[in-house]
């Protein structure tokens, strides 16, 4: 029986439960490491007038100090994929642009000593006007953050698909609304960590970090360090303590530490503290969206016009402005809408630069889109479920090409929607909620969100930030590739190297399932190496953990490498037995022919390639070390019409949230949450459900609690975990139901799609829809703090 598809507990668990995980903070990979502390800007925007490090000599244990200007000797600015990049270094040079921006690095014998040393460094600043509001920043800029972007716009593009102008003019009903998605962040419990070592004689850098890709950023780092790429060796620790995207932005610190090691002549280590993380690591982009949607009287969704302003922070930093484009191919969600106009602005403000956070671009899109559906339903006097049913893409429309170029590979959206509505008891609850109106302060509401979940990002999608004319002057980019190696040693030990740099997803276990199935050997005979080493791991620019790509890309790379091994061993067996290869198969780790079991095992065949290569027939090379680079289909560069299939595959989910809202206290209780996913074939249902549980918690936090709040001076108000609230066990829904449909991904051998991000895209919309339903108001911003709720109630009652 196939191991794939079974709920197999993880091989990773033993070491992690025992406290024997190896995280970056646990590692001292080279001798003589000094510890780094970073002095950071207390101002959101200021000129640095003077940095005085002269008193450092009085502090015991100090190795050395680096300021921004010192970096100029060894670094170039980071490249970024927009036509007019701004100058961005990993430490401020002469001017600070966000609170927490690095200003001085000190290395010392211990972190304690390094922090002591920061106390005696003096920096004088001349404060400058602060740019905080996104629309003001670009429409009436009080000041330009960068000389070459006078309006603080780092990227602006406009797209037209079909004939949206005519379609909107002819629509019976126009829904227009402004939505605000807040800055929030991922809050992994492990913070960033980096160890960097510059070897003077060779000029080689080695950097250990809890970095998980995308490994396109390797070339960005090498460029900043002004070295050819083989001179930058990146290694990840065996275990990474969560990321949810945000650790991709550890890369500026990897470059900062690498430069520090070079300038100070010693290996250096930095473990970020929590305040540093909240202030100055990365965050999701806040977004203001103006949405106009045109519907016919009978509820047909005809045209969509979106203008979106992303707050990308103080410097546009790779891979931004990707938040604006990651979902470009699935802009119209689950709906068959052919007329679309989109206008995108990436706006710079005095905030920490933005980057990947679970859902990346998804919640910013689906919160407005799925709220629009509910607002439209109310205007059209239709049930929100019925309006969605009338507009979702039908099963016979797959593969479905969206207006913006996405290719939805497979799905059965109406069935998933029905399953979700039934599982939640949708009709009965609406009846119950109606009966409860006007009987006390508690109101009940129910909300739906319908999400097409992209996975396996097309590396070419980011280039749509350029116009077709600009793209024509560059080399094209495309693809969603993953690499894996399956090796068998002389005594039959199997080792698999993967390129996904996981941080808790359980890839080591799923890889064993895949390889054990192909070679019909026990999972225990396989060891999986998940830590990356860019010098020895087969990898490519799209390697890493992001865009939920393992199920679609990584798993298929492993499968493909295992198949290569199988093919090689069976060819060898055929030669040994003097039969046609096609008559042979593996079973229980042994070759079987037409007459049944032979005495050729995986171990024996692999051993032959090592111990006695003289006997190998022509065409069979010594050793068993098979690497496969697997490329997902249909991920081409953008066309000259700006059509882009931004992801290789698209799953689907429907969430239904039931809430109780206290109109006096503003308290929202999520009574019941149903989420139904269609991610194709599930590789390991236990782990799939774990991803969904975590995704729901994450989405719930973004809906109700999480926001990086700043005052008008650009000071962060939520720098501790007492101020930035993430859900604890008590905040989880009282009831959580996870169900699955299984429409396989047709373009891949294993048929699986990603599923870890969908609920982060859906939960904010589902809960906001439920709260809007409960209160009879239209919620247009997140998070839904008690204050937002009570203000909405007062406004509705004319007291606001």
């Amino acid at each position: 029986m196939s191991l794939l598809g079974q709920s197999i507990p993880r091989f990773e668990d033993g070491r992690l439960i025992n406290g024997q995980g190896q995280f970056i903070a646990d590692l001292m990979p080279v001798p003589g490491i000094k510890h780094v502390a970073i002095l950071r800007s207390p101002h959101a925007h200021a000129r640095i007038r003077r940095i005085d490090t002269s008193r450092l000599g009085t502090v015991p244990g100090v190795t050395g100090v680096i300021t921004g200007r010192d970096l100029l000797a060894v670094l170039a600015p980071f490249p970024v994929g927009v036509p007019q990049p701004v100058t961005y270094y990993p430490m401020a040079i002469d001017r600070v642009r966000y609170v927490g921006e690095p200003v001085v690095v000190v290395a010392a014998d211990s972190r304690y000593a390094a922090e002591d040393a920061l106390d005696v460094v003096e920096v004088d600043y001349d404060p400058l006007p602060v740019v905080s509001d996104i629309e003001t920043a670009c429409q009436m800029p009080p000041v330009a953050l960068h000389e070459n972007a006078p309006d603080n716009v780092a990227n602006h593009r406009e797209f037209t698909y079909g004939d949206p102008k005519t379609a909107l003019n002819h629509a019976d009903v126009l829904i227009q609304e402004r939505f605000v998605y807040p800055r929030n962040t991922a809050v992994p419990i492990e913070t960033y960590g980096v160890v960097a070592y510059y070897e003077r004689s060779s000029g080689d850098y080695t950097v250990w970090a809890n970095f998980h890709g995308p490994f396109t950023l390797h070339s960005v780092m090498a460029h900043a360090l002004k070295v050819s790429t083989q001179k930058l060796r990146i290694k990840t620790p065996q275990d990474i303590g969560g990321s949810y995207g945000v650790k991709s932005a550890v890369y500026p610190y990897m470059v900062l530490l690498a430069a520090t090691s070079r300038l100070l002549g010693c290996p250096v280590k930095w473990i970020e503290d929590r305040l540093e993380h909240m202030k100055a690591s990365s965050s999701a982009s806040a977004r203001i969206s103006y949405v106009t949607a045109g519907f016919s009287r009978d509820g047909r969704f005809q045209a969509l016009h979106i203008k979106q302003y992303d707050d990308v922070g103080a410097y546009i930093r790779a891979p931004e402005p990707a938040t604006l484009y990651r979902v470009h191919g699935n802009l119209t969600g689950a709906y068959d809408v052919r007329h679309v106009h989109l206008e995108n602005y990436a706006v710079m403000t005095n905030r920490v630069p933005t980057g990947l956070v679970r859902g990346y671009g998804g919640p910013q899109l689906y919160f407005p889109l799925e709220r629009i559906m509910d607002i439209a339903a109310r205007r059209l006097k239709m049930d929100p479920a019925a309006l969605r049913r009338a507009n979702v893409i039908q099963p016979d429309q797959f593969p479905y090409r969206t207006a913006s170029g996405g290719i939805y590979d497979s799905g059965d959206y109406p069935s998933v929607l029905n399953t979700a509505l039934q599982a939640s008891g949708y009709e009965a609850f609406r009846e119950k909620a109606r009966n409860l109106q006007d009987s006390g302060p508690v109101r009940l509401g129910i909300g739906i969100a319908v999400v097409v979940e992209p996975s396996g990002s097309n590396m070419g999608y980011v280039t749509i930030a350029y116009t077709p004319e600009e793209r024509a002057r560059q080399l094209p980019k495309s693809g969603a590739v993953s690499a894996a190696t399956v090796a068998i040693d002389a005594l039959g030990g199997i080792t698999v190297q993967i390129d996904s740099a996981p941080e808790g997803q359980g890839h080591e276990t799923v890889v064993r399932q895949i390889v054990a199935d192909v070679l019909t050997v026990p999972m225990a005979s396989i060891r999986v190496i998940a830590e990356m080493d860019t010098a020895i791991t087969p990898w490519t620019i799209s390697s890493g953990s992001y865009s939920s790509r393992f199920a679609a890309a990584g798993a298929n790379a492993v499968f493909s490498a295992a198949q290569k091994v199988k093919t090689k061993l069976l060819a060898l067996a055929a030669q040994q037995l003097g039969v046609d290869c096609k008559t042979l198969r593996f079973e229980e780790g042994r070759v079987w022919g037409a007459q049944g079991a032979t005495d050729l095992t995986v171990k024996r065949l692999a051993g032959l390639t090592h111990w006695n290569p003289s006997d190998l027939p022509a065409g069979i090379s010594p050793g068993v070390y098979e690497t496969s680079y697997f490329s997902l289909p249909n991920v081409d560069p953008p066309t000259t019409e700006d059509l882009i299939n931004s992801s290789a595959t698209y799953g689907f989910l429907v969430d239904v949230a039931k809430v109780a809202v206290n109109t006096e206290t503003g308290k929202i209780t999520v009574l019941d949450y149903v989420t139904v996913h269609d991610a194709g074939r599930l590789l390991n249902p236990l782990l799939a459900d774990g991803q969904i549980h975590g995704g729901v918690a994450f989405g719930l936090g973004s809906a109700l609690y999480e926001e990086l709040r700043y005052d008008e001076e650009g000071q962060l108000l939520t720098g501790s975990l007492m101020d930035y609230l993430v859900p604890t066990a008590s905040e989880m829904p009282e009831s959580l139901t996870v169900l699955h449909h299984h429409t396989t991904a047709p373009g891949t051998p294993l048929g699986a799609k990603g599923l870890g991000e969908g609920n982060v895209m859906s939960a904010g919309a589902a809960i906001a829809n439920a709260v809007s339903d409960a209160l009879g108001v239209e919620i247009c911003s997140l998070p839904l703090s008690p204050r937002t709720v009570t203000e909405s109630v007062m406004k509705k009652e004319g007291r606001g």
Binding site: P9, R10, E12, D13, G14, R15, L16, I17, N18, G19, Q20, G21, Q22, F23, A25, D26, P60, Y112, A186, V187, P188, I189, E190, T191, D239, I240, G241, G242, Y244, D273, R274, E503, G504, Q505, G506, L686, L687, D689, G690, H693, G694, G695, V696, A697, F698, S720, L721, M722, V726, P727, T728, A729, S730, M732, L736
Partner: protein, 167 residues
């Protein structure tokens, strides 16, 4: 009150996982850093250093304590148990299995702290003490699991051990 000079190192003797350790340390050294950096017990993780996330939870005289909020010199003759100590217990195998079978962890960074608290609360539950599991779990932040697998693991362990309350 004892006063220490800046940079003064003081002798301490700490009982950790049944062993006595003698060290000269700076008075300001956090217990979490002592365990990790002086003793190499890296199973105790540091996630926030302000007592919220719970990743650094250890047992101090049998009760869960945030090791990031305690100075190593302040331990006195108290008995400390870290995750490395719990693992040696004969009953830990069943505990580990319940966590794994119920997928109670993903990245595993918060896990040692969660394990320490749940272990202690289960002991209380088996002593017929009423345990408020929301209270126990809300002392730990986990960003991976939504706490679903953790609750399932607790229920499985209680079903085995005959504990009194429901997770």
């Amino acid at each position: 009150m004892t006063r220490y000079a800046k940079d003064q190192r003081v002798p301490v003797t700490l009982a950790v996982n049944g062993h006595e350790y003698r060290r000269w340390i700076e008075p300001r050294l956090l217990l979490s850093d002592f365990l990790r950096d002086e003793l190499g017990l890296t199973g105790t993780h540091v996630g926030c250093e302000h007592g919220v996330c719970g990743a650094c939870t250890i047992l101090f005289n049998g009760a869960p304590v945030r090791s990031c909020l305690k100075l190593a010199i302040d331990v006195g003759d108290g008995q400390i148990t870290t995750i490395e100590g719990l693992v040696k217990d004969d009953e830990f195998d069943a505990f580990r299995q319940a966590f794994s079978q119920n997928h109670a962890l993903q990245c595993g960074f918060c896990t040692p702290g969660v394990v320490v608290s749940v272990w202690e609360a289960l002991k209380r539950a088996s002593d017929s003490e009423s345990v408020d599991w929301n209270d126990v779990l809300s002392g730990h932040l986990c960003r991976c699991t939504g706490y679903v697998g953790i609750r399932r693991a607790i229920m499985a362990l209680q079903a085995k051990g005959g504990g009194k309350t429901e997770a």
